[in-house]
Symmetry: C2
Subunit: 649 residues, 2 copies
């Protein structure tokens, strides 16, 4: 529910009631102060349904475990004093009592001096006995007696009542999360129901007319609702009972009614999408009518996540998350999870942290605490943290990162080479077995698939050919996929290699002109002809590629100095070029054949690009590198590449 | 389903078909060889129900995300070339196109040179435009035009189609566990259903007539079924769909029919209880009839866990876990979880490991790989691993341990002071805030309760007074609760303190004679009289305490050299004494008043025991120690102690 600005609205924006941007710490402190302390409501649950819940109360052991003095072996319950002089050469003979204590059998006869009672593992030691001898250390002596060839110390092979758990001892404390081990302790005491913290009911709503739910067809200009699903899942992961109510249209009356209804049956309401400060942003107006104290913070000096809105309406938290997925998820984890877990009676999440070096300078905005999502790879002397770099509008920035680092509110950058503390999203860093940094290609996914299926972890960080080459020179990756054209020699890639790097041939990608099928300006022409035709039509708009891309060099060569409309539209990927043409934002551009075909575009082949690998020689013998080289050379790998439209070198 | 041995059976045991004890590694290798490779069956699930499941197939991006070139700000879509010379002093004036691109609105008009189109965050960049300028950097110039005061670089504030996720790129690999982040990635691509590995259906059965399910009353000689609940929960935690079928009686026909039925509808069957090698052990006979190849290993050179039985019947694993809870859980995690996770399409569990010093010698059995459950505490120079020490018959050995260390099959001990690698049961070590090592008392739970509720973690390791004192001298705990009587001075505790320790007075515990209410031999007597009466009756059996216990000194004093029946029955706790008397295994003994009252026994007070704390001076200023001292001195703490029958010092 972002809204369309118009310059006419700008003067009114001064009247906006939420001008104050709070610091992250201040916002969280005010939010928590408005919500806590509060009692965590409990509910009784059968043990089997309590897995993952938090205990609402301390649990004290109601019985001794074991409940009686128990035999730990199969053997005979005896009086140790009777065996004081027993040995291999001088066995002690004892008479057998006329009962057998199986597991679950209560003894009925005492063990008198000079007697023994057969007893199974787990059986209760009878009155009079003070030790158990193992059956292996005895010998039958007729049907009514045995010889015992070893002395027994008092208490031998006996587990005394209460030695595992003593009646009255504190077993588990309130707030403990019930895992299988806790279930074991409770079951051992005979506890079948426990008081657990009731999961807070959290209603989730997406707002925005542009949102389409996954599984439905995407309209032009629409996008899939990502935040609804991810927030719902993250609430479940953090102890809430999530109820996703779908996307609600941008209509104030309709939205208010939906919010009131959701809040009436929930303990918390989370909206995502409606955080624009534009005049049409109705969510916060509605919130101010929902209950006291209302909005606590609208705008937090936090990046990503500035437009976060925190409110409390009649003791219930109401949150509007930013619309961008990474902003939404980051603020959710940073600001909402602590509150949710506390409401759920759960302990704070314990985040694992590691130290890592930042290989590149990271710019930051003064005055906002900035959190940078990073991927971790193993360098020569420790971990290296690569910014994922796609920005807060990208879901993958958050979802494919290993963790994040923090840049202080008063810093305007983190210099290259800095040591930073990285908070991990999952408890373990699993450093990938194979690290690929450079230009990405869907062909690469085909080659690495068998490695993934064999349990090797592959990390591919897309930073372009030149960025990959730098990483390879610094030894931060196993190899860099590159497709760099050297105009001087007219060759690809080899001229760019330096000491310590070796070229591994990859595959050829046919580049050519794309256009919408049926566009009569281009049908039947070759590349040079197509560009001539485009330049001849003033209504014809092109889409270019970014400076530095190999494809850009080819385009400039074909244009021969012309700068037609669209020349400055310079996306960074083959896919973006195809999308621009398919969606009629441009009429022609240059991309690779597989991408053109996937978009069902017309394609005029022009020149092959060499997509090769700059291999870090020092890492060549690593098993994952060898596995990659094997997969690249394998018949099945080459066949998969060819099938996808690439030509293996 | 352990069974009662009799010496008569011993000769037949040689005919047992499962005499070969395999090494742990050999057993696991044979088990896995009989089960794998196998296909992981998949099933289609809605995204919302896929949380925690493992992906069954690779997922490739079906669309570009974003699907179009998207504006990242509220502002105006422009041609960057139009603004080449724009600046604060020389704004560029452009005419506004007659449309407004909201989020979700497909543009219908191109941005021609000299024009701009208002666009909201998330809106698709129209044809012709190659950049977006923020509304803040513009000024209205009448109703149909704006002035722009900054140049714009091509692509400014534009996220190109496919820049987040490119169509055709490998999104997630088979085997990935679906968390909220993966759900976000899938939703962003519009994927509403995913193929996930179907959770293996695992049937769990307990065997043993002695077992009572939690929630039901415990019969004499019976125990609660711990393994059923804990195994069921652990299967859920490791990707299985667990179905607990309850306890099945020890009857061969009935058990066979139950096992056949369970196996027919499950992918795996886990039994616990029936691993005795006694003649009555029917489970393995049944297994040999259930399918090929049948039993793979019966008996593994593993401690705890030797009696583990591994079988495969017609491609389905059938496992009989040892009956002792810690043996059952340890073998389950060590030998069964890897197989279960592989069947569930999950990656191997990644266990975190830490190094720690072992403060005491640990004996081990030559010829068996021994795993020792340990609790971790922070020492002066690193972590210290205390063996939990209650043995495999105790559920708490496993459930309250932080992890385990391994003693090699060829070692007969681990010497005190060894450095050992500890595998953690949970990813993080949370070193406790307060460490108490020594003699346990339920009064201690009352004093530490407020600390736990304030979020401080308290670890109490019960090793007796003398063991606690040693730990305190080594600086391994904050304090040691002790109740040590010095016969020379006739005083408690103080004479035992050494340099670096300080006595903190705790409370007094009244010790006295316990007997069953109504036992006319003891009613109305004082302690001396009661002991005289007991000694006068040859049928009267006592229960003693272990050598070294303060209570033992009192008993010996009262007995004056007599050694009546039961003298050598020497349990190590107050609770065991009460249980022996309550269950008629003994007629009298000495325990403390609160324990006697909890067991509803008659109690004759004799002498107060001083339960005090040997505080490690160097750790006195720690916040948790201060919090403990505060709680001990607090009115509410003293009242709780008094209410429970203790007398605060």
């Amino acid at each position: 529910m972002t809204n369309t600005p118009s310059p006419r609205d700008r003067d009114n924006s001064e009247q906006d009631q939420f001008l104050t941007i709070l610091s992250r710490e201040d916002a969280l402190a005010r939010f928590e102060a408005a919500l806590f302390p509060r009692a965590v409501p409990g509910e009784q649950r059968p043990l089997a349904d309590a897995l993952g819940c938090a205990l609402a109360e301390d649990v004290t052991a109601p019985i001794d475990v074991p409940p009686f003095d128990r035999s730990n072996v199969d053997g005979f319950a005896v009086r140790s004093a009777d065996l004081a002089s027993a040995g291999e050469a001088s066995p002690a003979r004892v008479m057998l009592n006329d009962e057998v204590i199986a597991c679950g059998t209560a003894p009925t006869r005492p063990v008198l001096s000079g007697t023994a009672t057969p007893i199974a593992t787990g059986g209760p030691v009878p009155r009079g006995a003070d030790a158990v001898v193992m059956v292996e250390h005895t010998q039958p002596a007729g049907h009514r007696a045995i010889d015992i060839r070893r002395a027994a110390s008092p208490g031998q092979f006996v587990s005394y009542a209460g030695s595992d758990i003593a009646r009255g001892e504190a077993l588990l404390r309130a707030g403990t999360i019930i895992g299988s081990r806790e279930i074991g302790i409770l079951a051992a005491c005979g506890i079948a129901d426990v008081a657990v913290a009731r999961r807070p009911r959290v209603a989730i709503m997406s707002t925005g007319d542009e949102l389409v739910q996954p599984g439905h067809a995407l309209r032009p200009a629409a996008i899939y609702d990502t935040n609804g699903a991810i927030v719902t899942a993250a609430i479940t992961e953090n102890g809430g009972e999530a109820k996703f109510l779908g996307a609600v249209a941008d209509d104030e009356a309709q939205l208010e009614s939906a919010m009131r209804e959701a809040l009436a049956t929930s303990d918390m309401l989370v909206l995502s999408g409606g955080t624009s400060k534009g005049a049409g942003d109705v969510s916060h107006r509605i919130i101010s009518r929902l209950g006291k104290p209302g909005i606590i913070a609208h705008g937090v000096a936090l990046k990503p996540g500035k437009p976060l809105c925190l409110a409390v309406c009649d003791r219930k938290p109401v949150i509007i998350l930013p619309g961008f997925p990474t902003s939404a998820m980051f603020t959710f984890h940073d600001m909402i999870v602590p509150v949710l877990r506390r409401m759920a009676g759960l302990p704070p999440r314990s985040d694992a942290k590691v130290n890592a070096r930042v290989p590149v300078r990271i710019a930051s905005e003064l005055g906002r605490t900035e959190f940078v999502m990073v991927s971790l790879v193993e360098g020569a002397d420790g971990l290296i943290a690569y910014p994922t770099g796609k920005g807060s509008g990208a879901i993958t920035s958050f979802a494919q990162a290993d963790g994040f680092l923090r840049i202080d509110v008063l810093a305007d950058q983190m210099p290259a080479g800095s040591e930073a503390e990285v908070t991990l999203f999952t408890p373990h860093v699993r450093v990938p077995d194979l690290v690929i940094v450079g230009s990405h290609c869907t062909g690469l996914d085909l080659v690495t698939a068998p490695l993934s299926h064999a349990g090797l972890t592959v990390r591919s960080i897309a930073v372009g050919s030149l960025g990959g080459l730098s990483a390879a020179k610094r030894g931060e990756c196993d190899f860099a996929p590159i497709h760099l054209f050297d105009e001087k020699t007219g060759t690809y890639n080899t001229p760019y290699l330096t000491e310590g790097l070796e070229l591994v041939p990859g595959w050829r990608r046919m580049q050519g002109i794309v256009f919408r099928k049926g566009d009569q300006r281009f049908e039947g022409l070759n590349a040079e002809g197509a560009v001539r035709a485009a330049l001849a039509d003033p209504a014809c708009i092109m889409v270019n590629r970014n400076q530095g891309a190999g494809t850009r060099i080819l385009i400039d060569r074909l244009l021969g100095g012309a700068r037609p409309d669209g020349y400055w539209n310079q996306p960074r990927s083959h896919n973006a070029v195809a999308a621009a043409v398919a969606q009629q934002r441009a009429d022609w551009g240059m991309t690779i054949a597989p991408v053109a075909h996937a978009s069902n575009l017309g394609f005029i082949p022009f020149a092959e690009e060499h997509y090769d690998f700059a291999l870090v020689k020092a890492r060549k013998q690593r098993p994952a590198v060898q596995a990659f080289l094997d997969a690249l050379a394998s018949k099945v790998g080459r066949a998969a590449l060819a099938h996808a439209g690439f030509r293996p070198a």
